[in-house]
Subunit: 398 residues, 2 copies
């Protein structure tokens, strides 16, 4: 039977404390590392740039030679390849500055007259000169272990001439849909009492989106031995997600199986929908048991599976996409539960000021209500609800 | 030479008006459609569920038979397979409800005694019964053209037994890095005056992240003919991004080439950094010319290339990931420019209340300043800047 209902945050904490992140890494070409988590500190092996460079198109000069030049007066320097007293050299943005030079006159402040350049600005040494290592200094730690790599970070690695780096391995997540009413997408029609499997597919796609590698198994019947077998034959997994069979009915075997193969930490959580969620550990690996009801299932995925995946894969907590919106109707909370109320935005993608329309739906069984929703308004355990006209934060459903 | 500096929003509007979205679609298995844009309205071909289902584990009954039952009084019904006056049948959450029944008694309100069930609740017809089509009604339009598909939407398609759908083709974006100082990542060392190519790689990775297919070309020299050739030999592209050669120097040929092959719409934009950005159209296809300076380049990507990609690919404007933070120092704007100031967050991923530390960097040439930044604070054209202690919105750099 159901255990006591546990507070959602406490359940999350208990669960996340019970397993360790993956330690193994893989070495990949940098261009394949967008969104991956770097598993080593990266120290710059070279200066970037490796030479003094012009910050402007113009003429490299000795600053001393421009003394007295200005809007109304000029100095004239001879155009040359090398720069010494009395000469200057053509430079382009980013090109090396010849040895003798210590400043660059902008094109706008110079007039080329045959072999000579008339200069109308007085420069101080260093003007328009990018020093060696001004971008990245050799020996500097430029990226730290645990950082999520963005294209701009990969560009920095490229600037250093680094071609491969170590990133943490992606967690392999085995997804096990259970339920004898389920049939696979391969079936072309349904008999009475049958529904197409959707939760397992949804879980697998969220796993992929959130940085894991999903392995979606075939549908397993409501039979403890078969559920056990499905887990035992996939012990290479880093995490398990089951769907269905978590309630109090005669056919709800999943939490029992988790308990018999490992530790059932939590069964019954203060999230609404999602109360029948169960959490456990098998062979040191986290197991999230989604309720079969699809809305409850997605809440369990967002609240527990994503957090577990992030811990396993060293993935930092990214802030959710959120907008602020004004409720067009009341949404009730449920005392003792963190309530995930689905809302539709009148103007999606408006960051603020859109209307949030509560989706009046009866139950956790209405999958289409999630698809119609743009996001969740999360009502804390101790809040009675939000009123029409209140401004709320909407966590967009990815 | 440079055209007049154009206001950033005007430039964007002019540019986006000048080309049309892609019209072609592809048909894909639903499990490959996460993040894709649906290219047709989807009408439900079946009811979901196709039968009346139990919303609870318990016993299916005729509601009339429970008249008078309650906490202190009970009625006794005979357990049977079919439900008629005086009998009830065992049902599980989600299982079909036998024909004669019109309500389900929860397990908690019933006690099984041998072949009989004692019932302690009076039910109204429909109690704990999910009607046929309660989730999705046959004939209902369940997903509309232009919607970005999320895992929960794909689950809805699966529930309908739909296995393939039409989505808009991903735009093919040809990325052309230009500049004779550039060398490819394949080089194991740099000579004086050389730097590794980074902007093209960064642009290609952002294109992929934002829903396009990048084709990153080899580095092209600063030679108008060679730039022209690179474009001409890739006219299967839906969009072009060039990097470098957009300034006023002798070697800055890119905007001229765009003008000679098509229309140069904009050269010089009020974004800082990023003023030398150029925008044009070749063969009806958008061309974004990123300045060679990497920070200017990324601003041009975020501001123009992403918008163009979204328009081409029918991708809705997703709201950015944003946080609110308090500035730990002043950041100056630049009159007439939309200024993209890089900031580091003291506590990244905190949604509000973190300190935003302005990155004091001299110029647009410092790639590492983007990698060190968590996001941009965008200062509008008519704002002088933001002061230390002000709360600002930080657009996180993906």
């Amino acid at each position: 039977m159901f255990r006591e209902r546990m507070n959602a945050d406490e359940a999350g904490e208990l669960f996340l404390k019970a397993f360790a992140p993956l330690s193994d890494t893989e070495n990949l070409p940098i261009e394949d590392c967008d969104g991956r988590i770097i598993a080593e500190n990266i120290t710059a092996g070279i200066d970037v740039p490796q030479y003094r460079r012009a910050a402007m198109d113009g003429f490299a000069v000795r600053a001393g030679d421009t003394l007295g030049a200005g809007g109304n007066s000029s100095v004239v320097l001879k155009l040359a390849m090398a720069v010494q007293k009395g000469t200057c050299a053509r430079v382009h943005t980013g090109s090396p500055i010849p040895d003798g030079a210590d400043a660059v006159v902008m094109l706008e402040d110079a007039v080329l007259r045959g072999e000579s350049v008339e200069i109308f600005a007085q420069l101080h040494p260093g003007k328009n000169v990018g020093e060696t290592g001004e971008d990245i200094r050799k020996g500097e730690i430029i990226l730290k272990e645990g950082k999520i790599l963005r294209p701009c970070d990969i560009a920095v690695l490229a600037a250093l001439g680094i071609r491969n780096i170590a990133v943490f391995r992606k967690p392999l997540v085995v997804v096990i849909p259970t339920g004898e009413e389920l049939v696979s997408r391969e079936s072309t029609s349904l008999r009475e009492g049958e529904v197409y499997e959707t939760n397992g597919l949804m879980a697998a796609l969220y796993v992929r989106k959130w940085g894991g590698i999903p392995r979606l198994l075939e549908i397993v019947e409501d039979d403890p031995e078969k559920i056990k077998d499905a887990i035992s034959s996939n012990l290479d997994a880093d995490m398990f997600i089951t769907s269905g069979g978590t309630s109090v009915g005669k056919r709800d075997y999943v939490p029992g199986v988790v308990g018999s193969m490992g530790t059932l930490l939590v069964h019954g959580v203060g999230i609404s929908p999602g109360k029948p969620t169960a959490l456990g550990i098998i062979n040191g690996k986290p197991v999230v048991c989604m309720p079969g009801y699809p809305v409850a299932g997605i809440v369990a995925l967002y609240f527990f599976a994503r957090a577990a995946l992030r811990k396993l894969g060293h993935i930092p907590d990214e802030s959710d996409r959120k907008v602020r919106a004004v409720l067009s109707g009341k949404i009730p909370g449920r005392t003792g539960y963190k309530t995930f109320a689905r809302v539709k935005l009148e103007t999606p993608y408006l960051n603020t000021g859109s209307k949030a329309i509560p989706l009046a739906v009866s139950g956790a069984g209405i999958l289409s209500s999630v698809s119609k929703a743009d996001g969740f308004v999360i009502i804390p355990e101790n809040v009675e609800g939000y009123d029409k006209g209140e401004e709320v934060e909407v966590v967009l459903i990815e």
